[in-house]
Symmetry: C2
Subunit: 197 residues, 2 copies
DNA sequence: GAGCAATGTTGACACCGTACACCAGAGTCG
DNA sequence: CGACTCTGGTGTACGGTGTCAACATTGCTC
């Protein structure tokens, strides 16, 4: 070993994930990461254009971790409605328990021309599937399916942000659990009850 | 003039507001701000403990600007329901049109012991008032008033974040306007329709 | 084995936040 | 009037950062 590290790129991402878990995105420094991996600062530039690129690479991993955590909370035998609940509550729970990773996971890379959204990230896809499942089971009128994902995501993501960086930051877990359920149920109620548009 | 500046503190905050409008919180640097005001970097430390303190002082101003913008969108003759809508849509509109200020306005200073939230910030108070008004007018059963603010704030704030930093960032304004109305109406529907809790 | 592309290293630059010691000016008191 | 002190500024310096340019080393291929 020594001069050529081998899997520097992977090693940097792995270390980044470790560091970001407690320190968030701000803790991902070129010098700090390369130091931890035992390599000179500039070595990283062979694998990442700049710091931002490294952060986004770590963010991609964090996004997968978020998706995994959400999937783990969906009971295979659950009803479509409960699956939708689990998606939302899983998102919120991950945000609360893995604050650093969550901060990364919701980082959006600005690629593509304005207007287009690339392939949807895995966590968002889980939400789309849950909504489609609800429609298929008759739990949500097909006519009301359009844009439902944005209502759900807004609420769940907003709650996650309030508990992560906002005024609910220091609330005790029990209260937050109850609030989370209430908030998720409220959007679902809004979606499924008989409004106009 | 010259050696003693006089209103350095106010001048720094004002300049900070100017800079942050386009650059967000990250643009608020000790050196940059003091340079713009024409003073040595360390002068700022007579008025702010550190950079964070300066940022929070500017954030407080931004919070007022947000509240003002929201108030400006509430028609005095509007129905309680429309007032609630205006509060949410005002919040979202401000986030979209004043991205830098918005980023500051939602910054929470971590004061106080865990569990307590200090006096509510002005924008949040507007939401509370709107909800109370809706209850008073019979538009919302008093039994369902509890925690309603968190459902509303989660949704509205989440949507604002999605359009500001998230996947809706590059969506065209017309689409966002429609989506915003839809999302706000969905939560309100969830609150007012006949659920359980 | 020679040449080459990939992947490291070293050194330097410009910038940042901030700690420490010092100085200018205004106000007060003997 | 002159000295004393308080407030709010200045200068210098330290350790940290991201990043560029030039150079060294290694493994792959002809």
């Amino acid at each position: 070993m020594s001069y050529h590290h081998g899997g520097l790129r992977a090693a940097l991402i792995a270390e980044g994930l470790r560091v970001a878990r407690t320190g968030g995105a701000a803790a991902l420094g070129m010098r700090e990461l390369t130091r931890a991996v035992g390599v000179s600062p500039n070595a990283a530039y062979r694998h990442f254009a700049d710091r931002q690129a490294l952060v986004l690479a770590v963010a991609l991993e964090a996004q997968d971790l978020l998706a995994d955590a959400m999937r783990a909370r969906i009971a295979p035998s659950a009803s479509p409605l409960d699956r939708l609940r689990a998606v939302g509550l899983g998102y919120i729970h991950f945000a609360r328990t893995e604050r650093g990773w969550f901060e990364l996971a919701i980082l959006t890379r600005d690629d593509g021309p304005p207007g287009t959204n690339g392939p949807f990230p895995a966590p968002f896809q889980l939400l789309l599937d849950a909504l489609d499942g609800l429609v298929a089971s008759g739990g949500l009128p097909a006519a009301r399916r359009a844009h439902a994902e944005w209502a759900c995501w807004s609420t769940v993501h907003g709650f996650a942000d309030l508990t992560t960086r906002g005024p609910l930051r220091r609330q005790d877990p029990a209260t937050l659990d109850a609030l989370a359920s209430y908030v998720v149920d409220t959007v679902i109620e809004g979606l499924t009850s008989g409004g106009s548009t």
